[in-house]
């Protein structure tokens, strides 16, 4: 019998972690945290996505090539969203007349 990449134990812990974080994000969402509601939800979502990618998708155990492809996707997406939002967020900062 060949050795599986990830043990059942690790999968079970990942499942518990994901369900726990889902409960946490739901409870946090029901509180009025002002401007922090969305950032907290996104940070928890990022933690959940990392757990799924690392253990369920074996990214933690895969070759460097796979990890480079994954990192490339994430970095490219960050370029897309940060450059776009930096534009929209800063548009009202300087009081140009007639704008």
């Amino acid at each position: 019998m060949s050795q599986p990449t990830v043990s059942v134990r690790t999968y079970a812990f990942t499942l518990m972690g994901l369900l726990g974080l889902t409960l946490l994000t739901s409870l946090a969402g029901l509180q009025d945290l002002g401007r922090w509601n969305v950032p907290i939800a996104l940070v928890i979502a990022l933690a959940k996505a990392s757990l799924i990618a690392a253990f369920f998708m074996h990214a933690f155990y895969d070759s460097k090539l796979v990890r480079v492809v994954l990192a490339g996707g994430v970095i490219w997406f960050l370029i897309l969203i940060t450059l776009t939002l930096v534009d929209y967020i800063t548009r009202g900062w300087l009081p140009f007349p007639g704008k």
Binding site: S2, F55, V69
Partner: protein, 217 residues
């Protein structure tokens, strides 16, 4: 049906490990293109959200929060079942592999059922853009925009789920026909990668659509 030992090493590859890694990298590259597809929509969503935060929070407050939270847990469990299917394939237990694939599919259908029920509730509550939308707020147009994003993005996600169900069905069929073994089960792993990716997308959809207005309900 194709003999797994033949499928395990096709002539263009040096060894089975190289063949497996080639397939895995190919699948990840495809998933990166999917990140870009959803990424564009997430970016557009945030552009609108930053411009109309109050209307978007109002729209989010009209989400079926409980169904959304339960559905998140349902999809996570489905991903776990898929992970167990891959594990079963790796240790060469075909019966268990078939059971876990079936379980993954069934839980996936539960998710889709809840999702479509939720759509129906939005339709009843006049929160369905263009078809049935009624809102008297002064910023109703942007509340409607929130729902446009909601239906577009969760709809695209549900479409991915339906494709995934098809992929899992085909994988289950090949399992029952004996195409997979301990030495060759790459298609199970690739179907798993796709399924987990779709799960990951939902995690973010839940965070941006359901959470921001949950405390205003």
């Amino acid at each position: 049906m194709a003999d797994p030992s033949v499928l395990a090493l096709r002539e263009q590859f040096h060894d089975p490990e190289q063949q497996r890694e080639t397939s895995t990298v190919g699948m990840w590259v495809f998933l990166v293109t999917e990140v870009m597809l959803f990424g564009g929509l997430f970016t557009a969503f945030f552009v609108y959200r930053l411009s109309h935060p109050v209307a978007f929070d109002r729209g989010s407050a009209d989400m079926e929060f409980v169904i959304g939270a339960v559905n998140t847990a349902v999809l996570i469990f489905s991903s776990f079942a898929m992970a167990m299917a891959v594990h079963s394939a790796e240790v060469g237990k075909r019966g268990r592999l078939a059971v876990f694939l079936l379980l993954t599919m069934l839980v996936g259908f539960v998710f889709l059922g809840l999702k479509f029920w939720e759509y129906y509730l939005h339709y009843l509550h006049h929160e369905f853009p263009a078809i049935s939308f009624h809102n008297t707020r002064p910023d109703a147009a942007y509340v409607q925009m929130f729902f446009v994003f909601y239906f577009l993005m969760t709809g695209l996600h549900a479409f991915h789920m339906i494709i995934g169900e098809g992929v899992l069905g085909a994988t289950l069929l090949r399992t029952l026909l004996g195409s997979f073994s301990e030495s060759y089960h790459t298609p199970v792993e690739l179907a798993g990668l796709y399924w987990h990716f779709v799960d990951t997308v939902w995690v973010f959809l839940f965070a941006i659509f359901y959470i921001p207005g949950a405390h205003l309900r």
